[in-house]
Symmetry: C2
Subunit: 246 residues, 2 copies
């Protein structure tokens, strides 16, 4: 039986023979939109038990269930990398969440800075984007999207245990390459911190520069939008310290 | 006089004392939307003569003109890097164009592959996105968006003079790091090639692997969407061979 080209995230324990009940929206998607029927198989994951092949046991309009058959991939955790960013316009914030998931961030933290445009985010919507990105990119893990966090609280949470790659758009060229900064700081827990569109305030910048575990880096001579900077910084981190090179 | 927080691309020769006529839409944007008036100053660029400070000479509802005062930045060309990609959904194609401009691609080429979803692109719309991104990122250069090009033609245009970083999503992990592939291949003209959502066909992949100037690279263990792959590949290239590190 061919495997459906759909991967589904389901918040339910997974083990051989386990029944996985489907919520109304999931049943609608699988049976109404994707036209799966009883007996069809698809990969499912819950973010904790790896990826499993499941078979449609019951297909209804308002619900249904799958049966877990066998594990098809083990749980693969991303490196201990957080992405912290000042939320921007809705679609670009959605985009950052999607990209951070694909690029293997373990936790996504919207931060409130002096110049952050929006004071709140729709956490459920962002979490749903992270789930969809995980389904699409073949990952077995979904990063948690945190609630809006003040910059000071984020820095306290990093404390001495977590290094920060801090993208300072006032540094353009004439600095140590980001690659070298990362390689010299070395492996361990990290966070990438992306400022708001208007940049960090002088006070914030002074504070960040004074923290021994925060490393300012430049992302080239052009001023990147916050969403571009997020993708570029995560890429460099994964390439130098993360799981891109085995 | 304070400088307006607007940068405007104008297709007109620029030199001290030069009058720059404004089209109706430009006049509407500057005077109707941004509320500039005669005497106000803003940075302008044409992609060839660097950035100039211009003063509003005449502000009308249907037109107007600026006077070029002095050059504020020289022309800064990006490295000789092309981005070739198989167009995907409209908004993601727009996004790739915006990001390629910010990340310093010199030319953007939509390519037609065996599995490309769309057979045509709206070149004018993509070019407008490149202009807007250049205005926003502080660049003095606007990459040209080429018309839809067959993969074979693109490869012929690269010929022996241009190396290709070819993002092969079938390579996940267990390969030489992209950074090392780029560093060993060395500087010179390059192109980044991103395949369509369905990947390259087997025939295309065989052809690419046989070309001595095409270098397959992996972008980590998760499958990246085409737009993410474009940003990640351009970032790695700029970091290793481009203009990000002085």
């Amino acid at each position: 039986m061919a495997l459906a080209k759909i991967r589904l995230f389901l918040e339910h324990p997974m083990a051989a023979g386990q029944t996985l009940p489907l919520a109304k929206e999931q049943a609608h998607y699988l049976f109404g939109v994707m036209r799966l029927a009883a007996g069809d198989r698809l990969p499912v994951f819950n973010g904790q038990d790896g990826e499993w092949i499941a078979e449609v046991a019951e297909a209804g309009k308002r619900g249904g269930s799958l049966t877990c058959l066998e594990q098809s991939a083990p749980l693969r955790l991303p490196p201990d990398l957080w992405l912290a960013f000042a939320p921007i316009k809705k679609e670009r914030t959605d985009f950052i969440t999607e990209k951070a998931t694909e690029l293997g961030a373990a936790r996504i933290i919207p931060v409130q800075t002096d110049f952050t445009n929006s004071a709140r985010v729709n956490r459920d919507r962002l979490q749903a984007h992270a789930v969809e990105a995980a389904e699409q990119c073949g990952g077995t893990f979904v990063p948690e999207v945190a609630g809006m966090t003040r910059l000071g609280e984020f820095l306290d949470a990093c404390g001495a245990q977590r290094q920060i790659m801090f993208c300072d758009e006032t540094l353009t060229g004439e600095t140590v390459p980001a690659r070298q900064v990362l390689a010299e700081a070395g492996r361990g827990p990290w966070a990438v911190l992306i400022g708001p569109e208007g940049g960090f305030s002088q006070e914030e910048r002074d504070k960040l520069h004074a923290l021994p575990f925060a490393h300012p880096v430049s992302l080239g001579p052009r001023i990147l939008r916050a969403d571009t900077a997020a993708v570029a910084a995560l890429t460099l981190w994964q390439d130098v310290l993360g799981d891109w090179n085995g």
